[in-house]
């Protein structure tokens, strides 16, 4: 593969070509090996400054980016909304220009407003990496999901991937849809009709409200949390009814293909979208997703900083 990475930013999966996605995934393979060494640090980003600008709360993603940057030898600053001037009424534009004035090289942004990373990328010379913007995209999550699927199944093309849950408010769902359809998987969406509008069929997915049918032939099941923080009140009657109708119960689990992978981007709500025992079972790759996330984010930071070879 001759693709080289030309982008300063990673804003979303929708803009990426198949070759760019594969380059990211291949680079992540090399970086995963770094994480398994006794000395888990390479000098690739030595002297670079990375700012984690997290305007919306996050544990997993922020920690993962921070650790990824540190393993690449970058200097890392974490800014959260409550500890920033944003609570004093400063605009995102002014906050970002101040970070630029400090010569930050990479800004990793998590924001509740869709499009915020696009806004920053037009404004700044620094690289901007989207760590989740509203219900829009979460590109590194989709990449780590794809990385995990590829590692476990050896391929993505031709697989049946079912995404189950709150699709409407999920940036993980959107990034996964763009990525998996680009790489040739068959994507099925299921969940309550209020959270899985038919409109998603326009993006090359299948939509079904029959959960049994949605999971029957799935090679991969990706379960999504109910995004209460983004929802209007009247999307479904109760979490109890949701769990009964759409949760991955032991009964449903028993009817899956025997090698179906169980995935979840976290944080998981045990007993709602997934039975607690299933979350911990051997076919759940939830924690491996976390490990792979680190490798994927190292690859993203490396490539967006001008690293060309795909090798650390």
């Amino acid at each position: 593969m001759n693709t080289t990475w030309q982008r300063k930013d990673l804003l979303g999966i929708q803009d990426l070509s198949v070759d760019e996605i594969n380059l990211l995934l291949d680079s992540a393979t090399a970086f995963k090996e770094v994480g398994e060494r006794a000395v888990k640090k390479v000098p690739s980003l030595r002297g670079k400054t990375l700012v984690n600008l997290f305007i919306e709360p996050s544990t997993r993603t922020r920690t993962s980016f921070e650790l990824a940057a540190k393993r690449l030898s970058a200097d890392v600053i974490n800014i959260t909304a409550t500890a920033s001037s944003l609570v004093k009424g400063e605009t995102l534009k002014d906050t970002a220009l101040n970070l630029q004035a400090l010569n930050a090289d990479i800004i990793v942004i998590r924001h509740s407003a869709a499009g915020a990373p696009y806004f920053l990328s037009k404004l700044l010379k620094a690289s901007v990496v989207n760590a989740g913007d509203g219900a829009h995209e979460h590109p590194t999550q989709a990449l780590l999901d794809a990385f995990t699927i590829r590692e476990k199944k050896g391929r993505i093309a031709g697989l049946n991937v079912t995404i189950l849950g709150d699709i409407l408010y999920s940036r993980v769902a959107r990034s996964n849809i763009w990525l998996l359809t680009k790489l040739g998987a068959r994507v099925t969406l299921s969940g309550p009709a209020t959270l899985v509008p038919r409109m998603f069929e326009e993006f090359g997915c299948r939509v079904t409200y029959d959960v049994e049918e949605a999971i029957r032939d799935a090679d991969v099941i990706n379960l999504l949390r109910i995004q209460h923080e983004r929802q209007r009140k009247t999307m479904f009657p109760s979490t109890g009814e949701y769990a009964a109708l759409f949760g991955l119960s032991k009964e449903r689990f028993a009817r899956l293909k025997p090698d179906a992978l169980i995935m979840h981007p976290g944080p998981i709500n045990r007993g709602v979208e997934i039975d607690s025992d299933i979350a911990d079972c051997g076919r759940s790759v939830i924690l491996e997703q976390v490990t792979n996330g680190l490798a994927v984010r190292m690859a993203v930071l490396f490539l967006c900083s001008g690293g060309q070879t795909g090798e650390p």
């Binding site: 605009t91 869709a114 499009g115 806004f119 913007d133 509203g134 219900a135 829009h136 409407l168 998603f200």
Partner: protein, 421 residues
């Protein structure tokens, strides 16, 4: 003020069925049949001469937000756009729900306005939709209509009483049609693009249910309700059907709604964020059809200035609205260039139709009418540079657009207030 002799223009005056090359004479603030003596000559060969254009939906932001716009700057933008009259909305601070605010607007217009400004009054106190504003007193103070624009009266009973009450004073009731429960916290049209962009959508039905409500109440009270900035195909169809039954209902459309679609939002540029939102291509086509068959009788800008710092934020946080007075004519003329409308049809929607709705002695070149005239070069090609705007604000999605058609002279009460090259 010198009498004016506008020579050799193609005069389009829909009220009189005029579309011919002839001269127009202005004297003592009126259109006259013959000049009393010597007059200043304005050569208009190859140009259109129309009744002064009227925009029945603008926000001039005074009182309260003179950092966004003032009556002085807003009316200068109007004059540059060819408009001799503008109708300003009541969502100021304080709101135009009291005679003092109306008097203030009139005073500021007298001091610095270069075109006619006709204020509207609020339907409800503080635009809250809870109690009626003093509609009779507002009428005496000079409002030409009542509306809670920027807000929508949700209480159907209150709206019914407003329509019944306004009828006593011959005041049309205008409404920004929006059901708050359906629209909720939406920031763009609900459809393909809101789903793709992860932005909260609001469905066209959030507009349609209120249009339907207004039709039923106009019927109940047998009085005129005017639906502001219609943006959806279903709303056009509802109004069309109601008009066939003789209901006193009307509608207006904005250039951005018949020019752009929700796809424009894909760059997250907040100059594409407005209320109502840009909708689908099907809706855009339906608006043009509604304009062509007369269902929608007025075109207006919904000129809504906002400071740059307010718009340079996350899409979710940006205020709704764009400026539009200087691009309105060219974007509307595009409908003529593309043969969707005839020139007289377009001129009607920008002159006599709003004048009739608001009972103004304007919108015509009949002898004795107010001497408001716009001279237009319909084929002038130009590029809109928002940095050159007369408005205080810069929030236009049309910056850099190549446009065709421009006002070259704007005459208010017999006085030339704007002259282009």
């Amino acid at each position: 003020m010198n009498p004016l002799h506008i020579k050799n223009g193609r005069v389009i005056d829909p009220v009189n069925g005029t579309d011919q090359v002839r001269d127009v004479f202005l004297s003592d603030g009126r259109i006259v049949e013959r000049l009393p003596g010597k007059a200043e000559i304005i050569e208009a060969a190859g140009k259109l001469v129309t009744p002064g254009l009227i925009d029945l939906h603008v926000h001039l932001r005074e009182p309260g937000r003179s950092d966004k716009e003032t009556i002085e700057t807003g009316t200068r933008a109007a004059a540059r756009g060819g408009f001799t009259s503008v109708v300003c909305m009541p969502n100021t601070t304080p709101a135009a729900d009291n005679t003092g605010t109306i008097a203030f607007i009139k005073q500021r217009t007298a001091e610095g306005g270069c075109v006619n400004v006709f204020p509207t009054g609020a339907i409800s106190k503080e635009l809250k939709g809870e109690e009626l504003a003093p509609i009779g007193s507002l009428k005496k103070a000079g409002v030409v209509a009542i509306t809670d624009d920027g807000h929508c009266v949700q209480n159907n009973e209150l709206m019914r009483r407003a329509v019944e009450y306004a009828k006593m004073f011959d005041l049309p009731v205008m409404d920004h049609c929006q059901d708050y429960n359906l629209v909720a916290d939406g920031v763009m049209h609900e459809g393909h693009w809101s789903v793709a962009l992860g932005l909260r959508g609001w469905p066209a039905s959030g507009e349609d249910v209120i249009v339907a409500r207004n039709i039923l109440l106009a019927e109940l009270a047998d009085w005129h309700v005017h639906c502001q900035h219609i943006s959806s195909a279903r709303s056009v169809a509802l109004i069309r059907e109601a008009k066939k039954r003789g209901v006193k209902i009307s509608g207006e459309a904005c250039p951005h709604h018949f020019t752009l679609t929700d796809e424009s939002v894909k760059t997250y540029d907040t100059n594409f964020k407005m209320n109502p939102p840009l909708r689908s291509e099907r809706d855009r086509q339906a608006l043009i059809e509604g304009l062509a068959d007369g269902t929608i009788e007025c075109i207006c800008s919904d000129h809504a200035p906002h400071c740059s710092y307010e718009k340079e934020v996350e899409f979710d946080l940006a205020p709704f609205g764009i400026i539009g007075l200087e691009t309105e004519l060219a974007l509307s003329l595009a409908l003529v260039h593309k043969k969707f409308l005839t020139l007289p049809q377009l001129v009607e929607k920008l002159t006599v139709n709003p004048a009739r709705l608001l009972r103004l002695n304007k919108g015509t070149l009949s002898f004795g009418a107010d001497a408001d005239v716009t001279i237009i070069d319909p084929d002038r090609e130009w590029t809109y540079d928002v940095e050159q705007t007369a408005s205080k604000s810069r929030n236009s999605p049309f910056h850099g657009w190549e446009l065709k058609g421009k006002a070259v002279a704007t005459i208010v009460g017999g006085k030339v207030v704007w002259r282009g090259d």
